[in-house]
Symmetry: D2
Subunit: 301 residues, 4 copies
């Protein structure tokens, strides 16, 4: 234990949240030679990070001597609580990097709190999924000052392939939510079109090839088509397993429509899409890829 | 008049419907050396086709000796009436090419009627807009037999750059409607996202650049962004003029949702998008490009 | 056969369409002493009307000597075909009463056709359901001239309890569609509220009693509550059997939204409600009462 | 000041929030002989309550000696802050009555906090509007224990005509939100129907009379019809002034859809209705009665 504490003191990064994404991100940090102390509620995750060379700790406060802390947590309250705990524990680090997807207003407010304690803060939510986390090819959408972004860059470039500066604190979260709002709507739109087309007698692959070279071309149709067999190696071709889950899409649509409401920006399609994914989740599709909405719209009996 | 009739008898193509699109399509046929007799209700359009070397006629029945007849008309009833008039007039041509966007079920039924009179028929609606019609770069989405498509191909390749065989009669129309259904939904989705993003303080160009390299990438964002100034030379950057009009999008969404209903394929987003465009039209935006929906969602007072 | 023809000649009413509603309506006419000749495609229905004292006929044209003809048919094309057959058969009656629910524009156009043959015509769709048809307590929503309405009144008052003059030809249909559009929306609204309330821990009966004495009071909550056990003797309390079927509601919502579209009247909630009922039908709930939408929104797995 | 404090100490009720509703409610308490000390941020409101015989105070903490405290505040954070201030000030009263409309989960949590300090608590949101507040005919929807309700009843019966026990703490709020969710949807449904009907040529009064005796009967049609001239003395007949404002309806729909989401209860129509009212507010209709949505759907240009 003593030796661990010794190592802990000198850890460059504290990492909080070793879930599907966070575990791989911490591994990539460790593989680059960064010393990492990590916290998670799951013992299995702590064991895994230890076997990869990291230092598992049993409380957030144990990370109070880390220079940089990176969080990858499920929701706003988790990040709020974590920041509170760190500040209460007397954390005097240099930089807080939050890669969770949370409410942009909360994100901005937490950054202010940290900055008034003399700590830099950026929001850096990601796109690229579990595969991108494993391969270290994530895209980081960053909100914060240029100097904080530059301080974070060495760590970000170990975990991802693209770092985009979106604006001030909160702008990373806002950008992520805009992207996922549009993506969720587009997926349901592609589903409605391809479902209707095949019922009208069209071949799904032919229809997709026309759409993909025409004015309804989009990522959900071209790279991630929800109709089984159109794209290879996508969730639709493996019963919607191992994709971007309905519950995660629903979470992001809730954040996005809430953020939109707070700035009085109407999202009629976004709200309806949210309700559709809520019904999918209710029907037991929460873990399935969000392209599974084609089954929801199409459950003939 | 006599000489005209003489020329008319030998005209290879009869063209019906010399509107914004049809006028340019007829011109391209003429420019390729095809002899064309043409009908339209507008005298100005008839004069224009005459000055381009075509033979204007004053009734559909006057085209009864043409080998091929091409239609570019506003709606199903116009095409139905035209086919009726041609058959009543004793038309014994070889091929009917309908480039109008109409209901796929009507399209299939008209093809059956023509075929039982020994005349080939394809549906060949287009994408590419007025610019594509003028430049001869349209994409034709074709429904019908391979042999009818091959018979039509020389004419289609004069008017367009791409000819895609989508399936049997009606399949061209179905494909067009699927594409435009998805496109309409995607445009509103992009509008909701970029409108919310800018209200949250993001820069529209930065946001678009992230979306366009990420999972919400789509034609409406990348090539035709509805936020003024993001793309050059698109309707959003010229007050939504000279684009794909709200009324045309509404017409296609009505056709698409009706076709979907007829095969019991749910389109919740498609129906809501249709209503949104109907309200845009009511508010006087019918002639504006369909990206103008951002103004509809954003009319602060 | 001869005697039947003799009776047929003097029949006051021809009745076409002896379904769930029409059968009872014909019975009530017969019970009042009216002579009735009737046509239906189902032999069982013809046998039933015969045993009630009516004259079954085997074709619509057999009714050509009836003074008044009443139709109770599933959809616009059925009524159009019937009117065509009657006029072709040389029907020279006095009055055509259409109690089907059809498109108001078709209804108006058929009335014009009949009137130009010297025959009076009203549209008289009903509310009150199968029970009202059996009990003779239907409400008739009538479109047409006052004189045609007065000519029809003796028959209508035998089959129903209320006769409301809604306006010129087509106005009965328009009124029926307005009512059913609002009713469909209200039912889904009540379902959303009571479903949410019970999940928040409220007692359904208590909640309904507050709503029914407050500003969300409506027929769907007060007289036909969709939550099992709140009202006695309603479909919700017998597994949604023997009510107003989802498929019928869907049919009326299609007619209503189509009519709204034709006069450029936006119905965003109506269109979404239509899609919801279309999905219910797809899931095998077509024959269940339209309150069953609570099961659709609530299918936890 | 001393005499005021003397009176204050013995005040039976502290009242916080003297807005449109709260001012009249405090007046009715005073008129019944109850001694009332009151707080509001507006000096004009404090002056008014003083001239009606109440004791104005300049901070919430000044009410710490009141036996009962009644709140009528705009939103959850106001109530949370008020309870915090009171407890911090050492309030040792008997009963907290919150008549604000707030989130049921917050309401329940605040009640728990008060109860653990030995103070009874009920949520008692109202229906009946400004007129009901003035006339003392409000309906209170109460959540809490029977004994707390009985303790509150004398005060409630002075301010209202109906007191309904809806369940445990939070149940009053839940009931109010269910009612207003259904009401908002019903209003838009009535608007869609009557707007379509009049465009189809129906007379609005005739149509409403049929609806009101048929299956689309509801409070929004019968007692509060949104079409000008159908009902007398309703906002629609005075340019939508002095009614239940769009912004208030929007606030309640946000609370309702948020509460629904928290218990995973789908509200597709509720969410769309919320977006419609959000757009109405954006267009400057925030202060107009919520029936004004007919103008929103109908803004022909």
């Amino acid at each position: 234990m003593l030796s661990r504490t010794a190592r802990l003191t000198s850890a460059q990064c504290g990492f909080i949240g070793l879930g599907n994404m966070g575990g791989f991100m911490a591994n990539n940090l460790l593989a680059s030679g960064t010393s990492v102390a990590a916290f998670d509620l799951s013992q299995a995750s702590l064991d895994a990070v230890a076997s990869a060379g990291g230092v598992p700790v049993t409380s957030v406060a144990d990370l109070k001597d880390c220079e940089t802390i990176i969080t990858m947590l499920p929701s706003s309250p988790h990040v709020e609580e974590t920041v509170g705990t760190l500040l209460d524990a007397g954390w005097k680090g240099k930089l807080f990097i939050d890669s969770s997807t949370i409410d942009p207003i909360t994100s901005k407010s937490l950054a202010g709190k940290l900055q008034s304690s003399g700590i830099g803060a950026i929001d850096a939510p990601v796109s690229g999924g579990v595969k991108g986390a494993e391969a270290g090819t994530l895209t980081f959408m960053v909100g914060g000052s240029s100097s904080d972004l530059e301080a974070a860059r060495p760590h970000l470039e170990v975990m991802g392939a693209n770092v985009i500066h979106c604006g001030d604190n909160g702008a990373g979260q806002s950008t992520k939510l805009c992207n996922n709002l549009a993506m969720g709507i587009q997926m349901v739109g592609v589903v409605e079109a391809i479902n209707m087309g095949t019922k009208l007698g069209l071949d799904a692959k032919t229809l997709a090839s026309v759409m993909n070279t025409s004015t309804s071309r989009c990522w959900s149709s071209e790279n991630y088509n929800p109709f089984p067999g159109v794209c290879e190696n996508v969730p639709a071709s493996r019963d919607y397993n191992n994709g971007f889950g309905v519950s995660l899409m629903l979470k992001d649509l809730k954040l996005a429509t809430h953020a939109a409401g707070s700035v009085r920006s109407p999202t009629p399609l976004g709200n309806l899409t949210k309700e559709i994914y809520a019904m999918c989740e209710d029907q037991g599709m929460g873990e399935k890829d969000f392209g599974v909405v084609i089954d929801f719209l199409n459950q003939k009996k």
